[in-house]
């Protein structure tokens, strides 16, 4: 009897395994066929990227830290576009997270007006196309700033106009790279110092100020390195001027253009509305006891939020937050509507001039895939670092 059972189980096991094998090979075969077919057709596409080495021939207006000119290669133009996208996205991610948290908390505010306003904000901006919002922020808000002739000045160092928000900035020069090396060393040294102090703390049982020590080590090496490298940063003030036939200009410092600001505003406000919903959902998903316990130990509203509620909510909201980060990255491709040369913009200009539609768009897609992959990877790493503890 037992033998019979064992036999039956083994055939069953075998049968199931066979079945799985057959299903998978059929599926794999089908997919492979389709892919092979597409690949065989794709050989007819021109996929070479040689044209990217040719002279670009067009200038790019929005540059920061780069000085690309039209006589450089199309590769360089594309690189400027990628850099423009990256700095827009990085700023957008940080600010959207901040706004989303504030609005999400505000939606749960006890102040009736504040919670209603937060609700209205979410419902209005989540439900209208982003493209329209971008054009709105640009034409109806940022272009309405005073023009350069009537621009606002603060202490002669900050200029606000619809040409740019110009602020003082420090630019690298000389042995800047060497100083960056010193910073890396400083970081490593401060990490070691931190570990050492923590170990001391554990051994002696007395506070050994690991954070303060680490910071001091870092700053010390950084400052010494800075001086040793011959102060490789050159401060620069924005300057107004008149050129040619009375053309007003603003140069120097760091200039935040209205195109960049409008895109940033639109992306942050749009994505912030989605993040607010995620934050609200995550906070509401926390057991009520958390708030009550925090009240019981006498924490105030602000501390309750930042020390107890948000850190726990963060654990729940990382996966949906990742989605919104990816969305923000991809939505930055609408930049073309208001003259901000992001990578899609530059790619399309190259394609307009050179033809070669297929390789250009495949390059654009590949760039986005790499960025999305990086963001996903970082967020997944974060997700593993902040596990759903004790639930």
């Amino acid at each position: 009897m037992a033998v019979l059972t064992a036999f039956r189980e083994s055939t069953l096991w075998r049968r199931r395994r066979t079945r799985r094998w057959i299903v998978q090979s059929w599926f794999g075969f089908g997919v492979a066929l389709v892919l092979l077919y597409v690949a065989s057709r794709a050989t007819r596409l021109q996929l070479g990227l040689d044209f990217m080495g040719d002279r670009a021939g067009f200038a790019i207006g929005h540059q920061w830290l780069t000085d690309y000119t039209g006589s450089e290669s199309r590769f360089n133009a594309y690189a400027v576009g990628v850099f423009n996208t990256v700095r827009l996205v990085l700023a957008g991610l940080a600010l959207a997270t901040l706004l989303g948290i504030v609005a999400g908390v505000a939606r749960l505010s006890k102040n009736w007006l504040v919670s209603r306003l937060a609700t209205a904000y979410v419902e209005i901006f989540r439900n209208t196309p982003l493209l329209i919002q971008i054009i709105f922020w640009y034409t109806a808000v940022l272009l309405q700033l005073p023009n350069l002739e009537r621009g606002v000045e603060v202490l002669d160092v900050v200029f606000l106009s619809n040409r740019a928000l110009a602020v003082p900035w420090a630019y690298p020069e000389g042995a800047f790279v060497a100083w960056l090396g010193a910073l890396v060393i400083a970081a490593a040294a401060s990490w070691l110092a931190h570990r050492w102090r923590v170990a001391t703390e554990e051994r002696t049982g007395r506070p050994a100020n690991p954070n303060t020590t680490a910071l001091a080590v870092f700053l010390g090496i950084a400052v010494v390195g800075f001086v040793a490298a011959g102060t490789p940063l050159r401060p620069e003030l924005p300057e107004r001027g008149v050129a040619g036939a009375g053309i007003q200009t603003i140069s120097g410092g760091m200039q935040v253009t209205p195109e960049f600001s409008a895109l940033l505003l639109a992306l942050v406000i749009y994505t912030g509305a989605f993040i607010a919903e995620i934050v609200r959902g995550s906070i509401q998903a926390l057991p009520r006891g958390q708030t009550e316990a925090a009240m019981a130990v006498g924490l105030g509203g602000y501390e309750r939020m930042t020390l107890v509620i948000l850190p726990q909510a963060l654990r729940i909201m990382i996966p949906p937050l990742t989605n919104q980060y990816l969305n923000l990255t991809k939505n930055s491709s609408l930049a073309v509507a208001i003259a901000y040369p992001d990578l899609v913009f530059v790619g399309r200009t190259i394609q307009n001039n050179a033809g070669y539609a297929v390789p250009v768009f495949l390059a654009i897609m590949a760039t986005y895939l790499v960025m999305s992959f990086l963001i996903s990877a970082i967020m997944n790493w974060l997700n593993r670092r902040v596990p759903l503890g004790g639930r």
């Binding site: 075969f29 089908g30 389709v34 272009l143 003259a339 539609a357």
Partner: protein, 357 residues
Amino acid sequence: MTQQRAFRVAVLTIAAIGLVVMACTSDEKESAAGNTLQAVLDRGKVRCGVNDAVPGFGFLKPDGTFAGFDIDFCKAVAAAVFGDANKVEYVKLTAAARFEALASGQIDVLIRNTTWTASRDADLKADFAIVTFYDGQGMMVRADSGINKLEDMRNATVCVLQGTTTELNLDDRFRAGNIAYKPLTFETNETLEQAFTQKRCDGWTSDKSQLAARRSAFPASAGGPVALKILAETFSKEPLGPVTRDNDSDWHNVVNWVAIGVITADELGVTSKNLEQMKSNPPSPDVARLLGVPFKGGQVSNFGLGIGADFMQKVLAQVGNYDEVYQRNVTPIGLAREGTLNASWRKGGLIYAPPMR
């Protein structure tokens, strides 16, 4: 495991589709080259690639139909081929997509403010018909700005409309003149105009026809047309005309000679209004040949285009001659014909038709 059986169905379906796809892959000739004229006649409609955002040349009217200078040439081709100017299927194309659409056979003819250049003619499998409009890139500035020539624009910010050659011409010209500048490249004229009105940029460069159109409609609240001036210099040549596919001469001939016929009618003074009179009593052999009617009882000349000798009668009756097309579409956007490159060669312009005989 629970989804296994559901999956088997899906898997088998996908595999089956894959097989069908493979089976269907006969190496049939799918290139769009060949006899487009026959294809158009079989289909009963002309597929015309157009723009929907160029005032005066190709735009959508409130009722959802296309209108403009370029559109009228689409209509002229349809009138010549079918005797009915409405037998056009308009395909709206972006600048990026237009040559791809032509080469892959999604359209029969491209009439979308397209500049005739060597690389397009040779590289992009396009054949250009006669130039129907001579445009050129210009620069518009505020009248009170003190800028009188491009050299005055050192360190200026220039608003550009994203185009195919606009940004390149701008860079070429400013680089040649050693003039430092910052471009600000927009996708639509509307957003660009708001930036320019708010003094975000010092100059506005685009094709001069478009600058004139924008200037003539510049809102009074911002000073009206007199607040703007278009600099005299034209820093690019933009000869615009209909485009067909390479190696498609029968169809190319039809498109080309319809356009030439429209210009010839202007030179000979044949209009939609005097057509009947000209038809019954042609004043010259030229007019008779144009309209495909006998001159004083002689022979009817047929150019052998494959669309009937009287094709220009239909074109003129339904669309009109060059001057009528121009006055209907381009004059209203603020661009008079007299004294420009687009005047007839008899009046010092460049619009010149090869003889129709």
